[in-house]
C-alpha cells in the first residue's frame, strides 16, 4: 500500500483555505443521521466531540477516567503557543511555522504545520470566549511569555495550570452538548477493539470498567484522541493511566504507526528518588525563563555536594558552570528540550551531578529573585541596598509567576526552592510518534481518524514547548470538523449501523478471549513487575541516547519479556466488575509490543534528529547529526503479526518553503 498524504496543491499559505473551499459539505439535517465515536476527552478528543456535536452529528464520547475533565491534558503546565504578535516582537504565522519545523529537526510535514500556525490564533479567541481565564496584564489585555526554542514571546498561559484551564474550557463546551443530548458520554469505559466493516471503521468494542461488561458501539466514523504512549517507559511525566491501547489496537487492524522512536525527553523534571517511584513530575519549562541551570565547575565540589558536605549556596559564582549559557550563548537556558536534556545528561555522566544518585543539575532562581526585587524596589522608590527587602520583593514576584510549581516541588522533595536551587533531571515526557495520518487526519483505515498526541503529524522529531496543546485543540476545534465532513458526505443515507453484524461479534469475541486468558493465567508476578522491567530496558537502551548494540539487545529482551508476561502474569480478582489490575494487564500487553517496534524504528534510523539521538551519529561538538539525504522521511510501520515482522513504508518529506539546515542554537 502506497502512502498518500493528500496534501492539497497550491502555495503553502493558501492550501488550507483552498481545501476548505472545495470539500464536500454535509447539510445540517443530514448530520443528524450520522454517528461519530470519539475515543478520548483530552484537549483533542474533548474539543472534537464538542464541535462535532455542535455541528449536528451524534457523538458518542469515551474516556477511561470517571469524568472527561480528568483527561491527562489537565496536567499540562506551561502554556499554549499562538501567532498573535500581541507583543509586537516580530511573531507571525510564518515564524511560528518556521520555528516548529526547525524545532522538529525537519521531520514534520510542512503543510500540516503551516495549517497549525494559521489556526493557532483562533484557538486563543475561542478559549477566551469560553471563559478560560488566561493570564492578563494590568491593562486588561492578554499576557504572554517565552518558551524554549524560540526568540519571541508567543506563549499564552494560566499560571502553571494552562492545560487544566484549556481542558476545562473544552469540557465546558462538551457539557453544553451533553446537556442538550448531542453527546452521549461514556465515562469509565475503555476502547479495546476497532470494528471494521467493508474496509471502513464502523465501531468499537469497549469495556465498562465498573461492571466489566463488554459493549458494542457503532458509528459512521471513529476518532481516536487517546493521547501519547510515554508510559512505555513506566516512569514518565504522564498520568498513570495514559496508555497506547487505542492507538495500538487500530495499528493491529491496519493503521500504520509512524516514527514510534520519536520521544521527547523533558529537561526539567524532579529527579528519581527511589525504587518505589511510580511516576516523575515535570517542572514547567517556563521556569527556564527565569531559572539558570548549573552544576559545580569542579569535580570535588560536586562530590562534596553529593555527600552532603557542601550546599549549592556555598559555591561562589566563579565555581559554577552555567553550561547552557556557556555552550549556547544565543539561546542560553532557553535552548530546545532535546538540547537541554542532553547537555544535562552529559554533565551528570561526566561526574558533575548534584543529588545522591548523581543524576541532577540545579535550576536556580537566586538571580531572578534579585533582579525582580531590585526592579520592584525601584518602582516603589524603596531602598535598593536593603538586600533582605530586595529578596522579599523578588520572592513575591517569583511566587506570583510560578508559585504552584514551587509548592509542588516543595511537597515532593521537602526542600524550599525559594532559598536553595531546585534539582532537576530529564524525563520521558511526550511522544511525537503515533498513528500515521494524512492531511485529513485520517489513518490508513478509511473512517478511522487520529488526533492530538495519538497521531504523528505536526512535531517531527522534537516537539517544542507549548505546541502539543496547540495541536490538540487545532485538530479538535478547527481541522477535524472540516475533514470528517468531507469523508462522511457519501454516508448520509446509510442509516444507523447494526451492532449485530458478524464483524462486531468477532471483535467482541477477540476481546473476551484476551481477557479470559489473563484471568485464567496462574502466573506468579504482578503486572507492574513486568511494566517496570520493560521500562528499565526502554530507559537504559532506548532512552535519551541509543546505539546499535543496545537497540539490538532491547529488541530481543522485550520479545523475551513479552513471552514471559503471557506465561507468568498474575491478574487477581474477576473480570465481572471493577478490576484495576486487569485494566493494567491489557495496557501493558500493548506496551510490550509497542516497545519493540519503538526500538526497531530507532535502530533503522541511522541518524540523530531532535529527540532521537543515536550515539554513532553526532557532530564533533556532540550535537545531533541529521542525514537528510537518506532519512528525510516519515517511517510508517505496517503491522504483520509480530513487531519484528512490521513492514516499513516511507513518506518522503518535501520541504518547499523552508531550507534544511543544521539546527543551531549557539
Amino acid at each position: 500500500m502506497a502512502l498518500d498524504s493528500k496534501i492539497p496543491d497550491g502555495a503553502i499559505a493558501d492550501k488550507w483555505t483552498n481545501y476548505k473551499d472545495h470539500i464536500n459539505l454535509v447539510n445540517p439535517a443530514n448530520k443528524r443521521n450520522l454517528d461519530i465515536i470519539v475515543v478520548g476527552t483530552g484537549l483533542a478528543g474533548g474539543s472534537a466531540a464538542a464541535t462535532l456535536a455542535e455541528l449536528g452529528y451524534n457523538v458518542k464520547a469515551f474516556c477511561f477516567q470517571d469524568s472527561p475533565r480528568r483527561a491527562h491534558s489537565i496536567a499540562a503546565q506551561g502554556g499554549i503557543n499562538a501567532a498573535k504578535n500581541y507583543k509586537g516582537d516580530g511573531d507571525s504565522v510564518y515564524r511560528l511555522f518556521y520555528d516548529t519545523v526547525k524545532g522538529g529537526d525537519y521531520r514534520a510535514r510542512e503543510s500540516n504545520v503551516h495549517r497549525l500556525a494559521e489556526v493557532s490564533s483562533n484557538i486563543i479567541d475561542q478559549c477566551v470566549a469560553q471563559g478560560v481565564p488566561l493570564a492578563r496584564e494590568y491593562g486588561g489585555l492578554l499576557d504572554n511569555r517565552s518558551f524554549g526554542g524560540t526568540l519571541v514571546s508567543r506563549t499564552f498561559y494560566a499560571q502553571g495550570q494552562t492545560g487544566q484551564q484549556l481542558l476545562l474550557g473544552a469540557y465546558s463546551a462538551m457539557n453544553r452538548q451533553i446537556g442538550r443530548g448531542k453527546i452521549k458520554m461514556h465515562n469509565r469505559h475503555e476502547m479495546l477493539e476497532l470494528v471494521i466493516i467493508d474496509g471502513k471503521a464502523r465501531g468499537i468494542i469497549a469495556r465498562n470498567l465498573i461492571t466489566g461488561e463488554i459493549e458494542r458501539h457503532s458509528a459512521h466514523a471513529v476518532v481516536i484522541g487517546s493521547g501519547g504512549y510515554g508510559n512505555v517507559f513506566f516512569l514518565s511525566t504522564n498520568a498513570m493511566g495514559s496508555n497506547a491501547t487505542a492507538a495500538w489496537k487500530i495499528h493491529k487492524k491496519g493503521a500504520f504507526f509512524a516514527n514510534p522512536c520519536y520521544t521527547q525527553i523533558h529537561p526539567t523534571c524532579i529527579p528519581v528518588s527511589g525504587d518505589h517511584q511510580s511516576k516523575l513530575t515535570l517542572m514547567s519549562e517556563s521556569l527556564r525563563n527565569d531559572g539558570r541551570i548549573w552544576v559545580p565547575a569542579k569535580l570535588e565540589d560536586a562530590k562534596a555536594i553529593r555527600e552532603g558536605k557542601k550546599k549549592a549556596t556555598d559555591l561562589a559564582e566563579a565555581d559554577r558552570d552555567y553550561f547552557l549559557e556557556r555552550r549556547y550563548p544565543a539561546f542560553g537556558n532557553l535552548v530546545p528540550r532535546d538540547v537541554a536534556s542532553r547537555a544535562a545528561k552529559e554533565r551528570c555522566d561526566a561526574g558533575f551531578g548534584v543529588n545522591k544518585t548523581g543524576e541532577a543539575v540545579y535550576l536556580d532562581f537566586a538571580a531572578a529573585i534579585k533582579r525582580y526585587g531590585a526592579e520592584a524596589a525601584y518602582v516603589k522608590s524603596l531602598d535598593a541596598n536593603d538586600s533582605a527587602l530586595i529578596t522579599k520583593l523578588g520572592t513575591e514576584i517569583v511566587k506570583s509567576k510560578y508559585g504552584n510549581l514551587f509548592q509542588m516541588y516543595y511537597k515532593i522533595v521537602d526542600e524550599d526552592p525559594y532559598t536553595s536551587p531546585m534539582m532537576i533531571y530529564p524525563a520521558v515526557h511526550y511522544t511525537m510518534g503515533g498513528t500515521w495520518v494524512d492531511y485529513n487526519l485520517m489513518t490508513t483505515i478509511p473512517g478511522c481518524f487520529s488526533i492530538g498526541e495519538s497521531n504523528f503529524s505536526d512535531h517531527g522529531a522534537n516537539r517544542l514547548g507549548a505546541s502539543a496543546l496547540m495541536q490538540g485543540l487545532a485538530d479538535g476545534y478547527f481541522v477535524l470538523p472540516y475533514t470528517i465532513g468531507d469523508y462522511l458526505a457519501p454516508d448520509i443515507k446509510m442509516g444507523a449501523i447494526s451492532t449485530d453484524r458478524p464483524e462486531f461479534v468477532e471483535a467482541e469475541n477477540s476481546v473476551k478471549e484476551l481477557i479470559a486468558n489473563f484471568m485464567d493465567n496462574k502466573g506468579t508476578h504482578s503486572v507492574d513487575y513486568f511494566h517496570k522491567k520493560l521500562g528499565k530496558i526502554m530507559w537504559d537502551k532506548v532512552g535519551m541516547a541509543r546505539n546499535e548494540k543496545g537497540l539490538n539487545e532491547a529488541i530481543s529482551e522485550i520479545a523475551a519479556l513479552r513471552e514471559e508476561f503471557y506465561k507468568d502474569v498474575k491478574v487477581p480478582g474477576t473480570d465481572k466488575g471493577f478490576n484495576q489490575e486487569l485494566e493494567k494487564a491489557i495496557r501493558v500487553a500493548d506496551f510490550l509490543e509497542l516497545g519493540e517496534l519503538f526500538a526497531k524504528d530507532a535502530l533503522h534510523r541511522n541518524e540523530s534528529c531532535g529527540g532521537h539521538f543515536r550515539e554513532e551519529y553526532q557532530t564533533e561538538e556532540g550535537e545531533a547529526l541529521r542525514d537528510d539525504e537518506n532519512f528525510a522521511y516519515v517511517a510508517a510501520w505496517e503491522y504483520k503479526g509480530k513487531p519484528s515482522d512490521a513492514v516499513l513504508h516511507k513518506e518522503a518529506l518535501v520541504y518547499e518553503n523552508i531550507k534544511l539546515v543544521q539546527r543551531s542554537y549557539k
Binding site: 464538542a50 477516567q65 470517571d66 469524568s67 472527561p68 475533565r69 480528568r70 491527562h72 489537565i74 496536567a75 500581541y86 489556526v119 483562533n122 479567541d125 475561542q126 477566551v128 470566549a129 469560553q130 471563559g131 481565564p133 493570564a135 492578563r136 496584564e137 491593562g139 486588561g140 489585555l141 492578554l142 499560571q159 484551564q165 476545562l168 465546558s172 463546551a173 457539557n175 453544553r176 451533553i178 446537556g179 458520554m185 465515562n187 498520568a239 498513570m240 493511566g241 528518588s273 527511589g274 518505589h276 517511584q277 511510580s278 515535570l282 509542588m408 511537597k411 515532593i412 521537602d414 476545534y477 504482578s526 507492574d528 498474575k570 487477581p572 480478582g573 466488575g577 471493577f578 489490575e581
Partner: protein
C-alpha cells in the same frame, strides 16, 4: 516504617463493606501515600490477597481523581494538598492509619475506596459553560479586556479540581464550595455575564436534585480544599443566586 492500615473494603456498590486491618513494613518517608498503597497492593497480589481499589491518575495534584479519607480527613493530614501529593514523611513509624472512601449520599461507592462522583458532572451539564459556538469565528480575544484583579480571581475559582473533598468533609455533604467555584469563575468574567441568571439557578437546582446537603456555613470545606478555594465564592454565589431568583 512499620504501619497498621485500617482500610475500608467493599466489593461493589451493593455490598455492605467493612474496615479491615493490615500490617505493612518497609515504607519510606519519601514515598507518596499512593506509592505506599502500591507497595501494599503488590504485597497483596504476591500473597494471594485482593489489592485495594483506589482512584488516581495524574499523581501530581491536578486531575482531581484521587480521593481517600485518611485518619478522618479528606486527602489526609497535610494542608493544601491532594492525596497523591501527601507523603509518608507526614506519618511516624508504628502509626495506625485509617483509610476510607469519600462518603456522601451523592457519591455512591464503586469498590473499596473508589466512589462515583458523576453528580459533579451533571451539575456542570446544567450550566457550567458559556454558550459560545466552537466555530473559529469568535472575536479577537483582546477585544474583551478583563481587569487583572478580576481575571486573577476568576482563575483562583477556576482552579477547583472537582475532587469532592469539600463534600466528603462537610457534615451536611454539601457541594456548595464546588458549585460556587464554577459560578464565581463565570460571574467574574465578562464572557459569563450573558447567561449568569440561568446558570446559577440551573446549577443550584441540579445540585439539590443530586441529593447534596445544605450549606450551614461551618467552613470545613475551605479547610480541606486542596486548592484553597475560599468561602468568598459561596458568598458570591449566594448573592448571584439571590439576585437571579428575584429576576427569574
Amino acid at each position: 516504617m512499620k504501619l497498621t492500615l485500617k482500610i475500608w473494603r467493599q466489593k461493589n456498590a451493593q455490598d455492605k463493606g467493612a474496615m479491615v486491618d493490615y500490617k505493612i513494613d518497609g515504607i519510606e518517608p519519601d514515598m507518596s501515600f499512593l506509592e505506599m498503597l502500591d507497595v501494599f497492593n503488590e504485597q497483596q497480589i504476591n500473597t494471594g490477597g485482593d489489592p485495594v481499589a483506589f482512584d488516581h491518575d495524574c499523581r501530581e495534584g491536578i486531575c482531581g481523581m484521587c480521593s481517600l479519607f485518611i485518619n478522618g480527613e479528606a486527602h489526609g493530614p497535610d494542608r493544601g494538598v491532594t492525596t497523591c501529593q501527601l507523603h509518608m514523611r507526614m506519618f511516624k513509624d508504628g502509626d495506625t492509619i485509617t483509610i476510607e472512601p469519600f462518603r456522601a449520599a451523592a457519591f455512591p461507592v464503586v469498590k473499596d475506596l473508589v466512589v462515583n462522583r458523576s453528580a459533579f458532572d451533571r451539575i456542570q451539564h446544567a450550566g457550567g459553560f458559556v454558550s459560545v459556538n466552537t466555530s473559529g469565528n469568535t472575536i479577537d480575544a483582546n477585544t474583551i479586556p478583563v481587569n487583572k484583579q478580576d481575571a486573577d480571581a476568576a482563575f483562583d475559582a477556576a482552579t477547583c479540581i472537582g475532587c469532592g473533598a469539600c463534600v466528603a468533609t462537610c457534615k451536611n455533604s454539601s457541594a456548595m464550595l464546588f458549585v460556587a467555584a464554577k459560578v464565581s469563575q463565570y460571574a467574574l468574567l465578562p464572557q459569563g455575564q450573558v447567561e449568569a441568571v440561568d446558570r446559577v439557578l440551573n446549577m443550584v437546582k441540579q445540585m439539590d436534585d443530586e441529593g447534596f446537603g445544605n450549606c450551614t456555613n461551618t467552613g470545613a470545606c475551605e479547610v480541606e480544599c486542596p486548592k484553597g478555594i475560599s468561602l468568598e465564592n459561596i458568598a458570591r454565589m449566594n448573592r448571584e443566586y439571590l439576585s437571579a431568583s428575584m429576576k427569574g
